[in-house]
Symmetry: C2
Subunit: 201 residues, 2 copies
């Protein structure tokens, strides 16, 4: 139990430091100091800073993809309802992991070997699931004919945008992601885009 | 003339290093070495690494905002056509400054004092221009009633997304931003979103 708590303290310290100083700008020493643990424990649990980064990326995407596949596995409903359910779950998942989400989304814009690996593992799966859903919807006459690639990018971006740019929302629109009204309003906006743009008239 | 060339060499070296190693992970020494200039010249021209970053952000957004206001200053046309023209110009502007665009968009997701300053200067202006355009379009009956805030975020994200995530496009969709077909197809997709989602039926 003590190990679990230490591990969690290291993870939280790393997320908060990476968000302010960037991954490259943060040392293992600072992480250990902020977490109030012995520096050797960071290597012991994660094999160093790179291992810690891998752990953060993988644990974020595993939870994220679980929400996405759970939404898509509902066979009692049509593609548009599944897509809205996926949007709802993924917004909520990111809200519950706001600092981690922001760090992961930003980290994924950097062109490194690790990011490429994570991309071909997790984002390929995300793309595959969304693509399949759009294609089934088109076949069933629920969604209109479209360039599916761009449809996937469009939906994905509507889902992740607020969490990639929380300070843009705050400084320019005075919107806090924690506000209950934001959650409802933004979900309604994305639902409206799905009904008006993606669905067949 | 020699000064201009040196300045340009430093800028190009900085953009390319920042993109691979991040701002925090890059030293002035490396920038000077890659640019093949004396390290003292980086301070002379830009007042060090932070000054260089400020210069990159400001020069990107000045050009970007010029394209946006030029598109919106056309009084002979309606709001939807202005918006499509703005999208076209901004996609082209980013294509012409692809490495810089990517770096700037990513840097803007980090929460630092400098980013907040740049945000309240340039992104506030971008928001104001897009907001005004959407409001005029709604008044004129061209655009439908909508939550204008989210409309601005939506359009902005469609415009910057490919340039923030070029390696996502490449690794997962096999799309290169330099391909002529991408430019046309993506512009057509965004135009379709404007006509189908933003415009009144």
């Amino acid at each position: 139990m003590k190990g679990l708590k230490t591990k969690q303290k290291v993870i939280e310290a790393a997320i908060s430091l990476f968000n302010v100083k960037g991954y490259d700008g943060t040392s293992v020493r600072e992480i250990a100091k902020t977490a109030e643990v012995n520096i050797a424990l960071v290597s012991y649990y994660f094999g160093g800073k790179k291992g810690l980064l891998e752990h953060l990326l993988a644990s974020f995407y595993e939870g994220y993809l679980k929400e996405l596949s759970d939404a898509l596995n509902n066979e009692d409903t049509d593609a548009a309802t599944c897509l809205k359910d996926a949007v709802f779950r993924l917004l909520k998942y990111q809200e519950n992991h706001d600092y981690l989400s922001r760090f992961v989304h930003r980290e994924m814009t950097i062109d490194t070997m690790l990011v490429r690996e994570v991309m071909t593992t997790y984002l390929m799966k995300e793309k595959y699931l969304l693509e399949q859903l759009l294609e089934i919807g088109i076949e069933d006459g629920i969604f209109k004919e479209m360039q599916v690639d761009f449809g996937v990018m469009h939906i994905r971006n509507l889902i992740i945008m607020p969490f990639l740019h929380p300070q843009y929302m705050r400084e320019n629109f005075y919107i806090n992601l924690e506000d209950e009204s934001f959650k409802n309003d933004y979900f309604n906006y994305v639902s409206d885009v799905i009904e008006t743009y993606f669905c067949r008239k």
